[in-house]
């Protein structure tokens, strides 16, 4: 390829590169740099010190005084991560399975698949607000349970609670599992499954020994999406948790609001490291198995 042709390709790619450089790469580098800076009440100054990181782990020394806030925050966020990941994985798997293997007409499959993905393109905030009439104190769920005489007083933990946060997260994020899983399953050759059936494999054996292993890639990609979204979430936890529940993202948001940029940056570096480790672990699981 000539240099002229090469130059024209560069020209085509440059707007994307410029946007990603200016609004993604440079900001990430700045987060790393500023996490070592020092700050006083209202100003930040260049420095190289570990005070911000030390501040995050304040109270975490073994036998030290005070609560280890960062640990409890991460545990609180990880709780959502595990619960939401497990539910979206099972739910997403069943839905993808139904669409790919049970729905026979391809037009129907595309239509139902689109039905599952449309809400993704609408507002998350409105989708969260939509839970208020259902889960609120006088909401439909409480009314129904009282009508059925299953409870005497409205349940208070339905809204603005960990439960509500988990429901909204599943509601919003299952699509991230469905799409990659459909993608993986659609690539499985039907003759492979037929062969397994012919060889006497039960439905469960086919699922366990053929379909699930061939969906590893989709599972990994879906898991990466769900885990990163939940780990960094602050909107859902804030709105559905009634601003009362701690999460890693919410901590960073509070620090930004207080203009404590260096400490927010250090928290962000920690979150980034945590998320990257999880992503690497997921990618590795996939690769290792593919080599076997």
């Amino acid at each position: 390829m000539g240099t002229a042709a090469h130059r024209s390709i560069w020209w085509l790619a440059s707007p994307l590169a410029a946007v990603l450089l200016l609004f993604f790469a440079v900001p990430l580098v700045l987060i790393g740099v500023v996490s070592f800076w020092s700050y006083t009440g209202y100003s930040i100054t260049p420095a190289f010190e570990l005070r911000n990181y030390a501040g995050i782990f304040d109270g975490c020394r073994v036998g030290g005084a005070g609560p280890c806030v960062v640990l409890s925050t991460y545990l609180s966020t990880l709780f959502f991560c595990v619960v939401v990941w497990a539910i979206t994985l099972v739910l997403g798997f069943c839905i993808a399975y139904f669409l790919v293997f049970e729905v026979r007409s391809s037009r129907m499959r595309i239509g139902l698949g689109i039905l599952c993905t449309i809400p993704f393109w609408t507002s998350n905030v409105i989708r969260m607000i939509s839970w208020i009439p259902l889960l609120g104190r006088n909401g439909m769920v409480n009314l129904a349970l009282m009508q059925l005489h299953l409870i005497n007083h409205p349940l208070e933990w339905l809204l603005y609670s960990r439960f509500a946060v988990a429901v909204a997260m599943v509601h919003i994020n299952t699509v991230f599992m469905i799409v990659p899983l459909i993608n993986s399953m659609a690539r499985i050759s039907p003759s492979l499954i037929e062969a397994a059936r012919d060889a006497g494999a039960s439905w469960w054996q086919t699922l366990r020994n053929i379909i699930i292993p061939l969906c590893r890639g989709g599972i990994a990609i879906g898991s990466i999406f769900v885990i990163t979204v939940v780990m960094g979430d602050y909107i859902t936890v804030g709105l559905m948790g009634g601003e009362q529940i701690a999460s890693v993202g919410k901590t960073i948001q509070t620090q930004i609001d207080a203009l404590q940029f260096p400490i927010a940056a250090a928290s962000a570096v920690l979150l980034l490291a945590f998320v990257m480790l999880m992503i690497l672990a997921l990618i590795r699981i996939v690769d290792i198995r593919e080599e076997l």
Binding site: P15, L20, C116, P133, V275
Partner: protein
């Protein structure tokens, strides 16, 4: 002849139906409640049916700053949509060939999509607040060195610029600077992935034919490639709009003092106690749905067009 359905069909089908109800149920509930009678509240039962809350919404009752938020979201959305379309198509064309840095660029786009929004948002806020400091510091330096009015024409001009910065400069952060950038980090990866899908199915022999007939690369693009991909390109623009229209996680720390519709809605959840918020939510969702519907139509048309062209060839 129809085969008998297996037990797994009914089991998985039941889960599917339950999921769809779970997915759409809440939205349909607020759609219903937006028609709540004037005396009704945020929850069922309905106290009659009315357009009362839509009327309130039109008048802006109980929703301060709604107009400016709508206007901000609309104009930002349109700009993001156009930029997403142009940049994605250009990058999509570039990625059809190999170039140095291609995989780095692709990884950056994917990382931009999956890294937590709070981190992207913080980074942009940080970048702009440092840039503000730089501008203000620069203004001070210019004003103190050239602002005494004793230099030549150029020096005085620079000094006046310095004084102006000292007196008037507030922030570089805003809807169309940091806010726009934050939205593009979210919309561009989607645009790029869609363009990948479009070009994967694209038959390069049309372009070869055009080139053989002596068309320049611009002519080939303008008269052969673009007409074929046009519907998909419009689809990218529409999806870019709805992604921006509903975006909150990346904007929230990065738009500065401006309010967008999702940010306003988030704030309203704690203050508004009437169904007017459902009316606003319903209208916003309807706009998103209309845009998605148009985008899907565009993609379907695009596929038919490429397939049709294939048949003729």
């Amino acid at each position: 002849m129809r085969q008998k359905r297996s037990r797994s069909f009914y089991f998985m089908g039941l889960i599917f139906v339950a999921y769809v109800l779970f997915l759409y149920g809440p939205t349909l509930t607020i759609l219903l409640l937006s028609f709540q009678g004037p005396t009704g509240g945020l929850t069922l039962p309905l106290q009659g049916l009315s357009l009362h809350w839509y009327h309130d919404l039109m008048l802006g009752h109980g929703l301060p700053n709604i107009r400016i938020a709508l206007w901000n979201s609309a104009r930002l959305g349109i700009l993001v949509s156009v930029l997403t379309m142009v940049i994605s198509v250009m990058a999509g064309l570039a990625f059809r060939r190999k170039f140095r840095g291609a995989s780095l660029l692709l990884y950056a786009a994917i990382a931009s999509l999956i890294l937590p929004s709070i981190i992207v948002s913080l980074g942009i806020a940080l970048e702009f607040s440092l840039a503000n400091k730089l501008v203000m510091g620069g203004g001070d330096v210019l004003a103190s060195r050239f602002g005494d009015g004793h230099g030549n024409f150029l020096a005085n001009g620079i000094g006046m610029a310095g004084n102006w910065i000292e007196d008037h400069f507030q922030t570089l952060m805003g809807l169309f600077t940091s806010g726009l950038g934050a939205h593009l980090t979210w919309t561009l990866p989607f645009g790029l992935l869609i363009m990948f899908a479009v070009f994967n199915r694209f038959n390069p022999s049309y372009e070869e034919a055009a080139r053989d007939l002596g068309a320049t690369s611009w002519q080939t693009f303008r008269f052969v490639v673009l007409p074929l991909i046009a519907p998909a390109v419009i689809g990218v623009a529409l999806l870019g709009f709805t992604l921006s229209w509903d975006e909150i996680a990346r904007s929230s720390q990065a738009v500065g003092s401006a309010n967008t519709l999702p940010l306003l809605l988030e704030g309203l959840t704690t203050t508004v106690t009437t169904p007017v918020i459902y009316a606003l939510g319903t209208l916003t969702t309807l706009l998103s749905l209309a845009v998605i519907g148009l985008a899907l139509t565009a993609f379907a048309m695009g596929q038919r067009r490429v397939r049709g062209a294939g048949k003729k060839a």
